[in-house]
């Protein structure tokens, strides 16, 4: 009997509310940028901060308005953007070009509200160019991009941590200059603790999937992590995830799952796409194969132990540790924030293939996987494409592994026929492997 998550609607509303506020609030400071950034500094500017994030917005737009999204991407290409550029980027710029924006509550607003400022990060080669283009098209919105360097174990490399801290510190001065507001350390520090708390809580929720049956599947994980991505600095987001953690713990204690039939446990590397292509999710579900762990849903806005004496661990961090963190000064808070953000798994593999390989190895072992599914996204330059082909080489002899092309939101680049064929193969391989193991 499949379990139904109770807190579900609250999660959906949280995201819609944030976007509605950005679109319609009469007052407030509108901030745009990758929510794959340290967000708390924005909150130091006041309690009227309205945010629209790049990746989660593009992803949810594609989920809510598939046809519109196709038009957005085409509009961006007509406007001259590269045919091979990031499709999140193109969808977003396409909305700016068409000057209309659609959000998760199913509404489309004519007129894309200009942000007062852009606060973002730079990780892959086009990450901050995204907002340079948006800024240019909107007539020169002031923007500040933080260079996240990337590289495995970055949060434990003092020079990288210092570099990011210095940038955040300069960024705070810039925020004060560009908004003419005074920066409140009190609000900032509170936001930092919330931000870290949510990231740690999400890590704990994901880690519960180590149990058999795994309480959550990829589809539910995708539905449940937006608040953490959209705005993880609020008291409400902390409350949501505390409640969810309790609920999922209860599921584990009572042996329940949203998808109880788990003959095959799959570890997934790639940006979510099966929810957009139910036909493929079905191929897996029909044989009781479920994605129980994925670097995308776990690692985009969740933190884990990371590299401990040379080996990656997906063990979660203790939420109590967050409450004990000493955040008495602004610099303390910046330091804690920089470390947690640099620790995001989805950043480890950018410019450090070995970290990506370690994460996959650890995930396969810790989640007792029967198969490894690699789904590089054709227009993504981070952990959702880099190194995947090499990974297939490396893992194929160790565990049933298939790789097929997807794209985060550009359906034209998703290899649907091939993906279906290969998903069928994947199932046969896992069956053959199980038989082989039993025969031995």
């Amino acid at each position: 009997m499949a379990y139904t998550v109770k807190t579900w609607n609250e999660f959906k509303n949280y995201q819609s509310t944030r976007y509605k506020d950005y679109l319609h609030a009469p007052e407030g400071l509108r901030c745009m940028g990758s929510t794959w950034s340290p967000l708390a500094p924005l909150k130091g500017l006041g309690e009227d901060i309205l945010m629209i994030g790049g990746e989660p917005h593009a992803a949810s737009k594609a989920g809510t308005f598939p046809e519109e999204s196709r038009e957005d991407i085409t509009a961006a290409e007509i406007a001259g953007l590269g045919f091979h550029s990031c499709s999140y980027l193109k969808l977003f710029v396409g909305e700016v070009v068409r000057d209309k924006i659609g959000i998760t509550d199913g509404t489309i607003k004519e007129g894309f509200p200009k942000p007062d400022l852009i606060w973002t990060t730079h990780l892959c080669s086009q990450h901050s160019k995204w907002y340079q283009e948006v800024s240019r098209r909107m007539g020169g919105i002031p923007m500040y991009a933080i260079d996240m360097i990337g590289g495995g174990n970055a949060e434990k490399d003092p020079k990288i941590v210092k570099y990011v801290c210095d940038q955040i510190e300069d960024g705070i001065h810039w925020l004060e200059r560009v908004t003419g507001r005074d920066f409140s350390d009190e609000l900032f520090i509170k936001a930092v603790r919330n931000e870290i708390k949510v990231l740690v809580l999400w890590g704990n929720i994901c880690a519960l999937n180590m149990h058999a049956p795994a309480p959550l599947d990829e589809r539910r994980l995708i539905a449940l992590f937006p608040p953490a991505v959209v705005d993880r600095t609020t008291d409400e987001s902390v409350r949501l995830y505390e409640a969810l953690l309790e609920e999922v713990k209860h599921m584990v204690d009572t042996g329940q799952s949203v998808a109880p039939d788990q003959r095959f446990r799959i570890v997934y590397f790639g940006i979510a796409h099966t929810y957009g292509h139910p036909e493929m999710a079905r191929i897996l579900r029909d044989v009781g194969a479920e994605i129980v762990a994925s670097v995308y849903t776990f690692g985009t806005c969740g933190n884990f132990r990371g590299i401990v004496n040379g080996k990656w661990s997906w063990e979660p961090l203790d939420p109590a540790w967050v409450d004990e963190l000493d955040l008495s000064t602004r610099r303390d808070a910046i330091l804690a924030l920089a470390k947690i953000v640099l620790g995001w798994p989805t950043w480890q593999g950018v410019r450090s293939y070995w970290a990506l390989e370690q994460m996959a190895r650890a995930m396969v072992a810790e989640y007792k996987a029967d198969g490894l599914l690699l789904a590089p996204s054709r227009s993504c330059e981070t952990d959702f494409r880099n190194g995947y082909i090499a990974m297939q080489r490396i893992f194929k002899d160790e565990i049933p592994t298939v790789e097929y092309d997807t794209d985060q939101v550009d359906v034209r680049k998703m290899d649907l026929p091939g993906a279906q064929r290969k998903t069928e193969l994947f199932v046969r391989l896992m069956e053959a492997h199980k038989k082989g193991v039993q025969n031995k």
Binding site: K396, D397, D415, G418, R421, K422, E424, R428
Partner: protein, 264 residues
């Protein structure tokens, strides 16, 4: 196996539908028909032609097994297919039948190519299929033969006569075609263009294969296995010997027959 019985194997592929008629180990007849939209009609036609070719009447058939990408579509009356099996499984069984010592089959078809490793029973051990940009190699081969104004066989013969190594972009059929035409427009010798076309294809296939640990012996099947020029390059790229099975395009259909009633 299935001692005296007359059995038919149908392999309904993206581009062609293949049929074989067998009795025991003996291949009595075979036939290929372009698939097109009327998948069932093509299967019917292929089956009947193969029966004629074998001198066997429909009534004498003890059973039909279907494989290929469209296998489920032809699993309908009037064909009364007894059972179906996936293409890669059929390729393995067929390749093993055609070469008892084979443990890997590289199948290069009209729209997709794949490599399958299997055990002494022809049971699946590992498999890999082409990436998206490498789709449609077989169709590309036909198109290029047309563009060069030669038959597919002649394209292969031309390539074998090439004396100068020229290159085309390797990514996909679209780029390769565009650059092959560009070479023609530069006045490059047509044989060298043909060789570049063939090298592009075999490089893509070989690259895919190296992801798999290939077990000897390696058999090449599928329509493109008939291109001598293409096969010529394969051992060098894989750094392994390969052999082309007899009736390479029928490996799948034969494999289907072999697996009749679980291959008993």
């Amino acid at each position: 196996m299935n001692n005296g019985k007359h059995l038919a194997g149908l392999d309904a592929g993206h581009v062609n539908t293949k049929a074989v008629i067998m009795r025991g180990q003996e291949i009595l007849g075979h036939s290929t028909v372009p698939t097109g939209f009327d998948v069932v009609g093509a299967a019917e036609a292929a089956l009947n032609q193969a029966l004629d070719n074998a001198g066997v009447s429909r009534g004498e058939l003890a059973g039909i097994v279907a494989t290929g990408i469209f296998r489920d579509m032809i699993n309908v009356p009037p064909l009364n297919v007894n059972s179906t099996l996936p293409d890669y499984a059929a390729d393995a069984k067929g390749a093993l039948f055609l070469n008892k010592n084979s443990r890997t089959v590289i199948d290069i078809g009209g729209n997709i190519h794949k490599a399958v490793r299997y055990d002494q029973n022809g049971d699946l051990l590992d498999v890999i299929q082409n990436d998206k940009c490498a789709d449609g190699l077989g169709i590309f081969y036909t198109t290029m033969a047309k563009a060069l104004g030669v038959s597919e066989h002649e394209l292969s013969e031309l390539a074998l006569q090439s004396t100068r190594k020229v290159s085309v972009a390797i990514l996909c059929a679209v780029s390769a075609e565009s650059e092959a035409i560009d070479l023609m427009c530069q006045g490059v010798n047509i044989a060298d263009v043909a060789d570049a076309i063939v090298r592009f294809m075999v490089e893509r296939v070989a690259a895919m294969c190296t992801t798999l640990s290939l077990a000897q012996e390696i058999v090449v099947t599928g329509g493109l296995a008939k291109s001598k020029a293409l096969i010529k390059h394969l051992p060098g790229l894989l750094k392994q010997d390969v052999s082309v099975s007899s009736l390479p395009e029928y490996a799948g259909a034969i494999g289907a027959v072999i697996s009749y009633e679980g291959g008993k």
